[in-house]
């Protein structure tokens, strides 16, 4: 679906370096999410946001921070990347607040060497 984009789509980095992934929406929705997808683990929630400057932790938030300074952007930062953070990261938005249905971005594949 148009309306949600992630950047970069692919990134290779080294252990210990900082990494920021960006999720951008054009639809002005309040809720935004970051999940990571790993074989054997499915999708796990990292952080989510329910408004500008309003964020909360998910089940696998250690090693990650987020920021939402404006409605359209939700940034995920790995302060010091580790090999265990090699994953595919998906951003999602909630288009209708009366349902939990999420719409996903195309994913960002991160490799930490």
């Amino acid at each position: 679906d148009a309306g949600i984009t992630q950047s970069p789509r692919h990134k290779v980095t080294e252990t210990g370096t900082p990494v920021t992934l960006r999720c951008h929406q054009t639809e002005n929705h309040r809720y935004m999410y970051w999940y990571r997808q790993d074989p054997g683990h499915g999708l796990r929630l990292i952080h989510y946001s329910y408004g500008v400057k309003d964020t909360d932790k998910g089940e696998v938030s250690d090693g990650y921070s987020v920021s939402r300074s404006k409605t359209e952007d939700f940034l995920l930062t790995l302060e010091s990347a580790t090999s265990s953070q090699t994953s595919v990261y998906f951003c999602a938005i909630r288009r209708h607040e009366d349902t939990g249905e999420l719409f996903f971005g195309e994913g960002s594949r991160l490799t930490v060497l």
């Binding site: 999410y33 999940y35 054997g40 683990h41 499915g42 999708l43 796990r44 929630l45 989510y48 329910y50 909360d56 998910g58 998906f90 349902t99 939990g100 249905e101 999420l102 719409f103 996903f104 971005g105 195309e106 994913g107």
Partner: protein, 107 residues
Amino acid sequence: AQRVTQPEKLLSVFKGAPVELKCNYSYSGSPELFWYVQYSRQRLQLLLRHISRESIKGFTADLNKGETSFHLKKPFAQEEDSAMYYCAANSGYALNFGKGTSLLVTP
């Protein structure tokens, strides 16, 4: 703990055979449940949610509160159904996903 369980990592069926992907949940009450599909290296797409009871791409899923299950079914599998399937439940603020089942439909 609230949990979504998909017991099968991989399910392989022949084209034209019926397919059932299992999903069990451990939520109290009546959670909002979904099935998502992910084709090779693409984004996750909503396949169906139990509230709408629509049939998409020939798939259906019935909520069984007694067994706390939401199994996904299709009477005749097609090769293009090969994908990763995720069951998910609304935890109140986010979706909680199962670990996924990889469906392989062979000719």
